[in-house]
């Protein structure tokens, strides 16, 4: 579907992308992970022909991408990191404009537009885009990107500016869209990747530091410690005397920052033998940084 061969790119003296090669298979969701400034947006803009490539080659459906105007964009839907639209239009008018530009046939234009607006939950919105919230704009951005059923959907940080509810909505929409298209999406949030990606590539210092399936990545995931929240401070006291590990973070919470999963099992069995019912026991989410350290060390 999409192949990058030894692609390099620099801005001034700063090398953003160094000899990047990757391949995305059809009908997969490819998560493109990387810290801010790792070169995710640059890579995406090169795939879209919005930035020229210094060396190397990009192929979309075996057709090479050229800078400026590129034929390959007919197969691609793109959601920019901060989507901006014409504020004086309504969503339907905007999508009609996009459909006309993409050369969609009149016969299926109307039905497709209403279908897509239904999918992103903007079907009853007749006000102008001017007054839209961030989340609504993001959803309209996806609608715009999905129009014309592109073979490849490129989303640049679709979830980063949204609250958890908005984020879940967007991920659900992407998951639904997977049936029809291949999706590449970039993020710096690990849990987004865990939720929907099949394949993952980690971009670090302009190189692909790691690539593989989600399962492979999760195996590499470091144990990150956990915490126990008790219902009362006296429960905490009782447990802390039985199992004198961990530190107090507040009057009802004990934390175990550097412990392994085995320690969590010990703690759980101790809780059950002494019949202490905690409010919750939770593993900390590994941060992207810790995952990087793990991946890079290997």
């Amino acid at each position: 579907m999409l192949t990058l061969k030894h692609v390099s790119k620099h801005f001034g003296s700063h090398e953003i992308i160094k000899d990047l090669s990757l391949h995305v298979k059809e009908h997969t969701i490819y998560g493109f992970l990387g810290q801010n400034g790792a070169g995710k947006t640059t890579t995406m803009k090169m795939i879209l022909g919005l930035y020229p490539v210094d060396s190397g080659e990009i192929l979309v459906q075996d057709t090479p991408v050229t800078y400026g105007e590129t034929k390959t964009n007919h197969y691609i839907g793109y959601l920019p990191d901060v989507p901006e639209f014409y504020g004086f239009m309504t969503p339907t008018e905007y999508l009609t404009l996009c459909a006309d530009i993409a050369g969609l046939l009149d016969t299926d234009k109307k039905s497709q537009i209403s279908e897509i607006l239904e999918l992103v939950g903007l079907i009853d919105t007749n006000k102008r885009i001017h007054g839209f919230s961030r989340g609504m704009k993001q959803r309209l951005g996806i609608a715009q990107a999905l129009l014309g059923t592109p073979k490849l959907l490129i989303c640049d940080e679709p979830t980063s500016a949204l609250d958890p509810v908005g984020r879940k909505e967007i991920l659900d929409i992407l998951h639904t869209a997977k049936k029809k298209t291949t999706i590449i999406f970039s993020t710096h949030i690990l849990s987004d990747v865990e939720r929907i990606c099949d394949e993952i590539g980690i971009l670090h210092n302009g190189r692909l530091a790691h690539s593989g399936t989600k399962e492979e990545l999760l195996e590499d995931r470091p144990d990150n410690g956990f915490f126990i929240e008790f219902q009362t401070p006296s429960d905490l006291e009782k447990f802390h005397t039985i199992y004198p590990e961990g530190t107090r973070s507040d009057i009802t919470t004990l934390q175990y920052p550097d412990s392994k999963n085995a320690d969590m099992l010990t703690a759980l069995s101790l809780l059950s033998t002494h019949s202490i019912v905690p409010k919750r026991v939770e593993q900390w989410e590994p941060t992207l940084e810790s995952l990087f350290m793990e991946v890079i060390e290997k």
Partner: protein, 264 residues
């Protein structure tokens, strides 16, 4: 063809909905009324002036107002019209890059030449509409109060100013392909105009410069063949018209070439 017409439609929707067209039409109607109104007021002003002068012992002969007075006023206002044009359209391309609204259009397959053409066409039509509306209003007033037949070369001189507007529009587009903010485009366009204005002080080249067309008002009075070279006549205005047309084409090509390379 479909992408182009769709984008032209978007441009017009923008003109209507963001109020630009309304404001331009009202302004140009005002300009159209102003010239004959000022001409009509001239005798009254003269009378007031004459009275104060009489007290000082100077007599001023009664001034006769004709269609010519009104047309001279019209050509004086034209500079204001050009300023309004540049102010209103200087952001036509840069606003889109600054907000990033063109990116979804480009990635959808709209070509850059189509963007340029759609915007250029829209701007030219709006300018034509506003400019000739203003002209029509002045013409109608002048015909009603006085006699338009006493002025010479009216359509040519009015066309000269119209062409000057078209030339400024092509400069806006050429400069917009190079710069990235509307204010910078406005300043650069003004700067180019000012530079050419100063160049026109050099007698040898002045007759070939587009800014020469700003003196189009000089065409409407009958000048004798002995007129000095500094006065624009029917014969001397054609080189400037030809150069302006060539420059318009040149600017459009510059705009196209640089827009194609522009990084978004």
């Amino acid at each position: 063809m479909k992408p182009l017409t769709a984008f032209i439609k978007k441009e017009w929707m923008e003109m209507f909905r963001n109020g630009k067209l309304t404001i331009l039409l009202i302004l140009f109607i005002l300009f159209g009324i102003m010239s004959p109104a000022l001409a009509k007021l001239t005798p009254a002003l003269y009378e007031m002036l004459a009275e104060t002068m009489k007290e000082q012992g100077i007599t001023i002969s009664q001034m006769e107002v004709t269609a010519l007075t009104s047309w001279m006023q019209y050509f004086k206002n034209a500079f204001m019209e050009l300023i309004v044009l540049v102010c209103m359209f200087s952001g036509i391309l840069t606003n889109e890059y600054q907000k990033g609204t063109l990116i979804p259009m480009y990635t959808r397959g709209l070509s850059r030449s189509n963007v340029l053409f759609a915007k250029f066409l829209t701007t030219v039509i709006v300018w034509t509409l506003c400019y000739y509306l203003c002209f029509g209003i002045t013409y109608a007033y002048n015909a009603y109060f006085w006699d338009n037949s006493i002025v010479y070369n009216l359509s040519l001189s009015v066309f000269c100013l119209y062409l000057l507007g078209i030339w400024l529009i092509t400069i806006i587009f050429a400069v917009s392909a190079l710069l990235s903010s509307g204010a910078a485009v406005m300043l650069a366009t003004g700067g180019i105009f000012a530079a050419l204005y100063f160049m026109s002080l050099i007698p040898k080249i002045s007759k070939y410069l587009p800014v020469r067309l700003l003196n189009a008002g000089e065409l409407v009075t009958k000048t004798s063949s002995a007129a000095t070279s500094s006065v624009l006549t029917v014969d001397t205005c054609y080189p400037a018209i030809a150069v302006t047309l060539i420059l318009c084409l040149f600017n459009y090509i510059i705009a196209y070439l640089f827009l194609r390379q522009k990084k978004l």
